[in-house]
Each structure stands twice: as structure tokens, then as C-alpha cells.
């Protein structure tokens, strides 16, 4: 009896570990590109938000002109630092417009970030309370949306945009004409 009681206690670490593994596994099984797919083909949600660089100017969804990339970033997001240099490169390419959504961030930190890392964005929308992020179905940063000339969402990429992601996924969706050339 005592023996079996002890065994239960000693099985506890294993139980916790199995639980954790299952949790991580459920995460692994998910393909994030399939999530929130109902947004694909829809127009970007309505919003009116201040600009980061000019807080007294309000930007709305009508001011966004596709085709463009909507990049969700924040100064608290380590992967964004990793992603940023490539966004800088992208912004230099003819015909590529990137709008930034500064997601749940402190203004001073966000400005510092742009000051240090450079500004690849056409405009930076301040989404301080994460409201726009919820409408877009954003979980975290970085995420990048491809929108077409009618401001319809074509694609949602979760995670860092790299050279590989750009060439194989985003570029054909953003600039379809060029691919056929």
C-alpha cells in the first residue's frame, strides 16, 4: 500500500512531462497558414489609428492602397529584430510597399526601435490596445499579411519573413504579374 502510494508520487514528473509534450505536440500539428482562413479573400478590417511617427495624424483602412504587405511588429519581439534587416532590403525593391502595424507596444520603445533599425514602412499604424490585431486574427509578432490592389487579404504569414519565404510564397502572391514574366 505504502509502496504504491510512493509510486504514484514518483510517477508525477512523468505525468507532467507527458502533458507538456502533448501540449507542444498539438501546437506542432497545426499549420498556422490554415488558421483564420476565413479572412482570406476579405477586405482588411476597418480601423482608424494614429501614425507612429506623427501621432496627431490618423490613418484609416481607406488610406491603405494595395498591393502591399502589412507587417505586424513590436519592439518587445525578438524575432522582429531578426526579420527587420530583410524588410529593409524589401522596402528598397520597386513596387513593394510595406505598412507596419506596431502591435501592443510602448511608443517610446517603438520609436527607439525604428531609430536604431531603420524604417522600411510606408506608414506605421499604432495598434496600442491590440484591437486591430484581434480583427486581423493576429496571435503575436511578427506576422505579415499580403493584400491585393482591392485591399483584400490574399495571404497570412506567421513568423519571420526571410529571403526564402519572400521568394517562394510572398512574392508570387504580392506581384503575380512578375512571376509570369
Amino acid at each position: 500500500m505504502v509502496q504504491s502510494k510512493r509510486l504514484v508520487l514518483y510517477l508525477l514528473p512523468l505525468t507532467l512531462f507527458v502533458g507538456l509534450t502533448l501540449l507542444l505536440y498539438s501546437e506542432l500539428g497545426q499549420d498556422p497558414t490554415l488558421l483564420e482562413s476565413q479572412l482570406i479573400g476579405q477586405k482588411i478590417p476597418e480601423f482608424s489609428k494614429p501614425l507612429l511617427m506623427k501621432p496627431d495624424v490618423i490613418i484609416t483602412d481607406k488610406d491603405i492602397h494595395g498591393p502591399a504587405l502589412l507587417n505586424v511588429w513590436a519592439s518587445w519581439c525578438p524575432s522582429c529584430y531578426h526579420e527587420h534587416p530583410f524588410l529593409m532590403k524589401l522596402s528598397a525593391i520597386q513596387g513593394v510597399q510595406i505598412y507596419g502595424i506596431n502591435y501592443k507596444d510602448q511608443r517610446a520603445d517603438a520609436l527607439k526601435y525604428i531609430q536604431d533599425q531603420g524604417n522600411p514602412y510606408q506608414g506605421i499604424i499604432v495598434d496600442e490596445n491590440g484591437r486591430l490585431g484581434i480583427d486581423l486574427g493576429v496571435y503575436g509578432a511578427p506576422e505579415t499579411f499580403v493584400i491585393d490592389k482591392d485591399n483584400k487579404i490574399v495571404y497570412r504569414h506567421v513568423g519571420v519573413v526571410t529571403e526564402g519565404v519572400w521568394e517562394s510564397i510572398l512574392k508570387p502572391k504580392l506581384l503575380p504579374a512578375e512571376v509570369t514574366k
Binding site: P13, F17, L28, H82, G130
Partner: protein, 663 residues
């Protein structure tokens, strides 16, 4: 040619690792002596081939072989040689190879330094290390091969190493950290062996202690280097961000620290046996988790698991097999380990137990915070984010009693101790700490009450700890009948040095977080600004050229009440390959304060610049403290008793455990 040799060497290493894993284990189970004796030579053989692979990859970087994919994406023709070699571990594949190489270095060390171990035990330990190697070698060969070529159209130049990593701190930080992570594999292998053999005793703990100490020293240095690097390289003066990557290195450190202390109790008193085994497994499990969180990008984004599902699945299966099977073994074998030894409710054992609980709970809370985004997603709790405030609160609450008890731990005897005696011993320390803490807090007239309270608490703990440590050092090394000091064992000094290091680190954390002055300012050439009593005169900027970047360098002349203090030259660099701008802060360091200047942007009109100037009191104490801790570890591991013949030690260990013996 060279990369192909490296590739081939990896395959050979995998073949040998399989032999190293299976043959000795089967041999030990079936009493085949020839099979058992395979373990040593196989370990050496595997080491040689892994070393060949590692050197091949470094050579490819040295020779700028951009036909190798990994080299092309992590190096650049004009990258300085030191960084080119360090780029070997500048990405996932190379870092994994470094990991495997380190594992082999530790295995080799076990082979060469464990001649005193019973042959079967030694063979099992090496076999388990070989088994871990099998997992990692398969991972690198099948999912992350660093030797893959891009042929026939290979790039003429590489994409450059991330400029953030082009730094001395980053050259030595990963090897240190990995030596620490991987070092816990040795304790892990010993723990599994003990479970297989069903024998967990003081002798076992004595074998494991120096290996655990070794790993802990490296990990301590690694974590401190990482924090120091973040401080000066990221250009915003922070030294800890509670980001998943940092947490990944901190959790094994906390568990490793707990393990060091519970090993002491197991060795000296034969208590906490199962717990020590569990911690040995946990320390390595957290290291495994940590390595992969860092290198596979598992947590840099919530969803990064899915970024490369093949790698993610491999990692998870490997973690599942290694940790899962260890815990199964633990559940069924450790539950039958006899419980021996007793201790009074007030004793060194009890304090060590509380120490262990606090450290383990901290590690678990940090794990919860780190994985919280995943929990929140799975259980659909909405978008709740866990940030620095959570970690700071949890950590302060758990560490305050810990630091307080660290002062008492060395004084209190094994088995039992009288409370009156303890009161006498610590009264003076308490009075001193109260006075000094109070004075320091009251001197901060501009601070909020909560800040004052925290400063008071911090200084109180530091003074308390340093006072008690010094008192214990003096009392125990003073001879009873003469004024001459007697020499205590090295591990005694090591313990106290590490505890003083802890005190310094706490001092640095508390004072720098509450007393730092941070200003974003606009400066004009030949004008000066005043920050926290220091005058910073801006002399202007000049352009210069580095080997693989162009730069702008500002000059600030710093003075204090008219006395010259330092010339500070912060830089901004634009790296050629990536076009990325980097901020190189200039720092004038001193133990009592750092002066920190980082260049921002040139302002549109005129010659003015936006700059960030920080004055950070005592921030350096954090890393100085960590250095003392690592040094303390070195002292402890150099203790004579680990070098004495273990067998004779075992026979004579009864008279070892007097109250004078350090834990």
C-alpha cells in the same frame, strides 16, 4: 573536398555512436566482458570523427567556401578571421555541430578521468552519453546538415554573419553556454546508470559532484556573458529581458544550482537521493529544451514550431524519448530506493531542501511564463501576454527568502542546530544589515516609497549575506588555540566565494534597476549636456571604414565637476553585405557606475544628433558577481578530495562528514 570529408566523418561518428550505445549496455546486461570494454575505445573513436567534422566546417569558413550552403548564408569574404571561425556556430546547423562536439569533449573527459569507476558503471555512463549522441547526430545528418552544397551555381560571396553576432562576446558566449548545457549530460548519464543499477549512495554523489560543478561553471559564465553582450551590443543598456532565449539558458542554471546543493546533502548525509536523481534528469532536460528553443526558433515566435515541422517533430520525439524514458525509469526504480538518514526540522538538510524548492519553483514559474503563449492558445484564453512584470515579481518573491537563507545555510549544522545558537550567530549581521539598508534607502530622497523599500530590502540582503559569509570564514578557519589560520578545503572557500558573488549580483540588480538615469537627448557639436552629475561634451562625429562596414564615430568628453573622466566614442556601423545599421555603444566601466553613450540618428536640420546617455550605478556588479560565482565553482572543483583515489575516499568517508566539512 573538405566538406565531403566532414560529411563522411559525421556518418562514421553516427555508426560508432550506435556501437557505443548498444554494445556496452547489452554487454553489461548479459555479462559479456568484451562487449563492456568496447565503451572506452568507441567514445574515443567517436570523438575523433566528430572533431574531424567540426574542423572541416571551420575550415570551410576559413577558406571562404561559399559553395557550402551554411557558409554562404553565415559568412562574407571580408569578415575578419575570428568572426569567420566563430560563424561556424553562428546558425542552427553549425550550432548543433558545436553541441555534438561539446558532448564528445565531455564524453572523452569521462573516459579519461573515470578510471577508478567500476568498469560496468563506467561502460553504462559512456553508453548513455553515446545514446544521446546518436540522437543528435541523426538530427544533424537527416534534418540540418551543415555540409550541404549549393552546386553548380554557388554564390561568389556570402550573405554575411548577422552583425549582432560580430562581436567578441558572441565568439565565446555560445561555446561556454553549450559546455554548460551539455555538461549536465554527464550528471544525467550517471543518474540513469544509478537507476539501472539500483544503487544511489554517497559514493555516487561524490562521482557526480565534480562533473556537475564543471558544467555549472561553464553555464554560469555563459549566461553572464550573454547578459553582458546584450548590455553593450544591443545599445539600449538593458542586461536582461526575460526573453524566451534567455529564459532557456536560465532555467537549466537554476535547476543545476539546485542539483549542486542537493548533491551535497546526498553525499554528506545520504538524504534526498531520489530528488537528486530527479534533478540530474531535470537539469539536462531543461538544457535540451533550452538548446532547441534557442536554435530551432521554437519560441522566438509563438508558432515557430510550425516553421519547420520536420525539425520540430524530430526535436519533440527526441525530447520525448530521452526525457520520457528517463522519467519512466525514475518512477519505477527510484520509488524503491531506501530512505535513510534523519534530520531535525531545523538543520542544514532542511535549509538545503528549502533552497531546492525555491530554485525549482522559480525554474518552473519561468517555464510557465515562457510557454504561456502556447498554453493560452491551446486553451483559448485569449490574447494574454506574459512580460517582464510577471517574471520580475515572481523572481523577487522567490529569491528574497533564498538569499536570506543562503546567509544561514553554511552556519547551520547537519542533523540539527539550536535556534539560540543561530540567533547569537546572526544577530550582529542583522543589525548591520538593517542599519546599512536603512541608510541607503533614506539617502534616495527622490525615489518612490516602493522603490525605497526595494532598495532597503536589496541592501539588507547583501549586507546580511556578506557579513555572515565573512564571519563564517573567519570563525571556521581560526584555530582554537592559536592565532594562526588553518587552511580549509578548497570547496569551503569556493562555496563562500560563490555566495559573495551572489551578494554582488543582487547588489548590482537592485541598485542598477532603481538608481539608473536614462536620458534621450539632442546634442550639438561643441556643446555639453549634464546627466546625473556628469558633463558630456559632444565634439562631433567623423566617418571611418571598417573591414566589412562603414561607420560613423562620435566623440564625447566626459567630466565630473571639471575633472576629466573619459573619452567615449560611440559608433554607428553600416554592414556592407546586409546593409544593416548597428549601434555600438561606448561605455566607461567602473564597479560603482557605468557611463553609457549610444548614438541615435542625425537630426534633419544641422549637425545635431539624438543620443542616449545612461548612468548606471553598480550595474557591473552583476557580472562581477557572476564571475565570482564561476570562480567559486573552480575553487570547489579543484578540491583535493575529488582527486584522491575514490576507493580509499569511500572507505574513509565516515570521518569526512564532521561539521567542519564544507557542504
Amino acid at each position: 573536398m573538405i566538406p565531403e570529408i566532414g560529411n563522411l566523418a559525421l556518418s562514421f561518428a553516427l555508426a560508432i555512436a550506435l556501437v557505443q550505445f548498444f554494445v556496452p549496455l547489452v554487454g553489461a546486461a548479459t555479462n559479456r566482458w568484451r562487449w563492456i570494454l568496447v565503451a572506452g575505445p568507441a567514445t574515443i573513436g567517436q570523438f575523433i570523427f566528430v572533431a574531424i567534422a567540426f574542423v572541416s566546417l571551420s575550415w570551410s569558413f576559413y577558406a571562404n567556401d561559399f559553395s557550402v550552403q551554411f557558409v554562404a548564408s553565415h559568412s562574407y569574404r571580408t569578415l575578419p578571421l575570428a568572426y569567420r571561425l566563430a560563424a561556424t556556430w553562428g546558425g542552427h546547423e553549425g550550432a548543433l555541430l558545436l553541441w555534438i562536439f561539446m558532448l564528445n569533449v565531455w564524453s572523452l573527459a569521462v573516459t579519461l578521468m573515470s578510471q577508478n569507476l567500476p568498469a560496468i558503471t563506467r561502460a553504462r555512463v559512456l553508453a548513455i552519453l553515446g545514446g544521446l549522441s546518436v540522437g543528435f547526430l541523426s538530427f544533424i545528418i537527416f534534418t540540418s546538415n551543415p555540409f550541404t552544397r549549393v552546386l553548380p551555381n554557388f554564390p561568389l560571396d556570402g550573405a554575411d554573419l548577422n552583425p549582432l553576432l560580430q562581436d567578441f562576446g558572441m565568439v565565446i558566449h555560445p561555446p561556454m553556454l553549450y559546455m554548460g548545457y551539455v555538461g549536465f549530460a554527464v550528471a544525467f548519464a550517471f543518474a540513469i546508470t544509478a537507476l539501472i543499477e539500483g544503487q544511489i549512495d554517497s559514493l555516487w554523489a561524490k562521482w557526480v559532484r565534480p562533473w556537475t560543478l564543471g558544467a555549472w561553471i561553464f553555464l554560469t559564465s555563459g549566461v553572464a556573458l550573454g547578459s553582458w553582450w546584450a548590455y553593450y551590443e544591443l545599445g539600449w543598456g538593458g542586461w536582461w529581458f526575460w526573453d524566451p532565449v534567455e529564459n532557456a539558458s536560465f532555467m537549466p542554471w537554476l535547476i543545476g544550482t539546485a542539483l549542486l546543493h542537493s548533491l551535497a546533502a546526498t553525499e554528506k548525509r545520504g538524504v534526498f537521493k531520489a530528488w537528486t536523481i530527479l534533478l540530474s534528469i531535470a537539469a539536462f532536460s531543461f538544457s535540451l529544451l533550452g538548446t532547441f528553443l534557442v536554435r530551432s526558433g521554437v519560441l522566438t515566435s509563438v508558432h515557430a514550431f510550425a516553421n519547420d515541422p520536420v525539425r520540430g517533430a524530430f526535436i519533440l520525439s527526441f525530447l520525448g524519448i530521452v526525457i520520457g524514458s528517463s522519467l519512466v525509469l525514475f518512477a519505477f526504480r527510484a520509488s524503491s530506493v531506501s530512505v535513510s538518514g534523519w534530520f531535525d526540522w531545523f538543520s542544514k538538510e532542511l535549509l538545503l531542501l528549502i533552497n531546492n524548492l525555491l530554485l525549482t519553483v522559480s525554474a518552473i514559474m519561468i517555464l510557465m511564463g515562457t510557454l504561456f503563449p502556447i498554453f493560452a492558445e491551446v486553451f483559448d484564453w485569449g490574447k494574454i501576454s506574459v512580460g517582464a512584470p510577471y517574471f520580475n515579481l515572481i523572481f523577487t518573491v522567490l529569491m528574497t527568502p533564498l538569499v536570506f537563507l543562503v546567509g544561514l545555510g553554511p552556519i547551520v549544522n547537519w542533523r540539527q542546530y539550536s535556534k539560540q545558537q543561530l540567533g547569537k550567530q546572526s544577530l550582529l549581521a542583522a543589525i548591520f544589515a538593517l542599519i546599512l539598508g536603512g541608510i541607503t534607502a533614506l539617502l534616495q530622497s527622490q525615489q518612490l516609497l516602493t522603490d525605497k523599500l526595494q532598495i532597503f530590502l536589496g541592501v539588507f540582503l547583501v549586507v546580511w549575506l556578506i557579513f555572515l559569509v565573512s564571519q563564517d570564514l573567519l570563525q571556521k578557519s581560526k584555530s582554537h588555540n592559536s592565532f594562526k589560520f588553518k587552511k580549509m578545503p578548497n570547496s569551503f572557500y569556493g562555496m563562500h566565494l560563490a555566495h559573495i558573488g551572489l551578494a554582488f549580483a543582487v547588489l548590482g540588480v537592485v541598485l542598477s534597476s532603481h538608481l539608473s538615469v536614462e536620458e534621450n537627448l539632442r546634442v550639438s557639436p561643441n556643446h555639453q549636456v549634464n546627466v546625473a552629475g556628469y558633463d558630456f561634451k559632444f565634439e562631433g562625429v567623423q566617418e571611418f571604414r571598417g573591414s566589412n562596414y562603414d561607420g560613423i564615430r562620435g566623440l564625447f568628453i566626459v567630466s565630473h565637476h571639471g575633472d576629466f573622466v573619459a573619452n567615449l566614442q560611440p559608433e554607428k556601423r553600416r554592414y556592407h553585405a546586409s546593409g544593416q545599421w548597428m549601434t555600438e555603444a561606448a561605455i566607461d566601466p567602473a564597479l560603482s557606475r557605468d557611463l553609457y553613450v549610444a548614438l541615435g540618428e542625425q537630426l534633419p536640420e544641422g549637425q545635431d544628433w539624438a543620443v542616449r546617455i545612461y548612468v548606471k550605478p553598480f550595474v557591473r556588479c552583476i557580472w562581477f558577481g557572476a564571475l565570482l560565482m564561476a570562480l567559486g565553482g573552480l575553487f570547489a572543483v579543484s578540491d583535493r578530495r575529488y582527486r584522491k583515489k575514490l576507493k580509499s575516499q569511500w572507505l574513509g568517508s565516515k570521518d569526512d562528514s564532521t561539521s567542519m566539512e564544507p557542504i
